[in-house]
Amino acid sequence: MPINYIFPQFEILRDQTRCIKCRVCEKQCANEVHRYDDDYKIMIADESKCVNCHRCVALCPTSALRIIKNPHSFRENSNWTSDTITDIYKQASTAGVLLSSMGNPMSYPVYWDKLLINASQVTNPSIDPLREPMETKTFLGAKKHVIKRDDKGNIISNLSPQLELSTPIMFSAMSYGSLSYNAHESLARAAKNLGILYNTGEGGLHEDFYQYGSNTIVQVASGRFGVHKDYLNAGAAVEIKMGQGAKPGIGGHLPGAKITEDVSKTRMIPIGTDAISPAPHHDIYSIEDLNQLEMSLKNATGFRKPVIVKIAAVHNVAAIASGIARSGADIIAIDGFRGGTGAAPIRIRDNVGIPIELALAAVDTRLRNEGIRDNVSLVVGGSIRSSADIVKAIALGADAVYIATAALLALGCHLCRTCYSGKCNWGIATQREDLVKRLNPEVGYQRLINLITAWNHEIKEMMGGMGINSIEALKGNRFMLRGIGLNQKELDILGVRHAGE
């Protein structure tokens, strides 16, 4: 039916004068875009299948390939954009909810880019991290201010369980199932090597990865996939996933195609069934129920592990966080609307939730106003794109950040946003054996280590510039930030002054 025809989104430009017909593009494209034409003796392409993942471009040894946005267009219309029109064609022919992957790509403001960082001049020396100690070690967990002493006057530690991080960065929840075995191995090994933590997501923990338990956060989500006593006790902390920035209000989606034998065993569900998590936890319909789940998990883990409650940044986030901070949680993780995912309904991903910068500032301010900021640590994600974002997040009040999309990029992800198809050409978001092997964890884990090491250097440089030599003196230090191009309301919510003030 011609009305269903959707012109290809991308155009593949092949420089035939450069192409040596090695056919690596053909061999590496799981979408079967490239093909060798025996009659014409040249490589040709079916662009309708291209997702612009750059696998062919990256591997082409003579740089003969370029992929560009197809300039073919509808008549220009600021209201009816080509995406809007083609989405309607798709839905008119399929009657389905449109899916996409990764975070909200819309042009909403990115507040990180409207915040500027301070540096010392004259009255206060900047500190050179190459020559002076510069500390990024971070503890997460509730802090009590009541000092207890024994009869000799020595302080008795009464701290709740704490997580120790060498730098305030953690890999955010991504399940085994949505990600490949090799991607998980890369994350786990990198976390261990770096002295940070990664997060299982809601897919359970593969038995091979129990050895990285002290660097693992095990997640309990509404589907309870892969949750059992050994799983809970394998990790360093337990995270209750109430919501996710990419799709607040709904549960996780994992298409049956990704539920292979190994994934099914780890999740404890049958092979090939769609894993659709319930939207809410059906044992948590209010804040008092949350406390019961927290206590169940604490009992199951002998009160030795901190409990993290992860929520999506939604309109009333400050009040929700305040409730959680009084519920017995040790850490609150907040996921902004830019947060990524393996699969989400497009309309939800693009329209639900609020920016993490505003959510973080509002929550930190609220918890301080109520005097309960030390009841919990705050971890924010969705999306942290660079070391500068981290510095800004901590200055706004975060204890640490979660990164996921950035970690995937380090592993080779090119943000083509088709994880849900299960045909990830980079071996990350796939379970297809031939594709999974494209991510050699030996390469992957080293690249993750490189990324975090580089960011940690940059964090230290920026801290040194501010005259701060330990990360805790940056936490909530909003004086070190100034807004640029923000209105008074935005400045008030962020709790920062405008540049020049």
């Binding site: 004068t17 450069r18 192409c19 040596i20 090695c22 056919r23 690596v24 061999k27 590496q28 990256a58 591997l59 040894p61 003579t62 031939d434 092997k437 494209r438 991510l439 050699n440 030996e442 390469v443």
Partner: protein, 142 residues
Amino acid sequence: MKKIKVNEKWCLGCHLCEYYCAFANSGIQDMVKALKDMQIKPRLRIEQNDKISFAVSCRHCEDPICVKSCISGALTIKDNVVCIDKQRCIGCYTCVLVCPYGAVLPSEEGAVRKCELCTSRSDSKPACVQGCPNKAIELVEV
């Protein structure tokens, strides 16, 4: 002593190693010029069937049968690398027949071709190692 180590677990069968090898040993500066519309002549080959693939190249054996069998003295061991002296090779192909790995290949140039670990090039690492996108070919100390 460094040797090529091939790990079939990570080999994607993309054949890029063959192209990088052929280019590196072409003596031409530009890959397109060196390989376009040519039958490439790499010194290693990807062996593959449906599920498995891996690169095969000279193992630089400690007691190489090819060197022993060379009737003209063209194959010698230099710094643990089995090298071919093209001037001396008479193209009898005895070495091609005796190599248990099939790593010595006949060549139209007369002399046989075989991997010399890129020792004649200035780069520190063999071209196949550098070009492998998945670390399936590594140069390791043994």
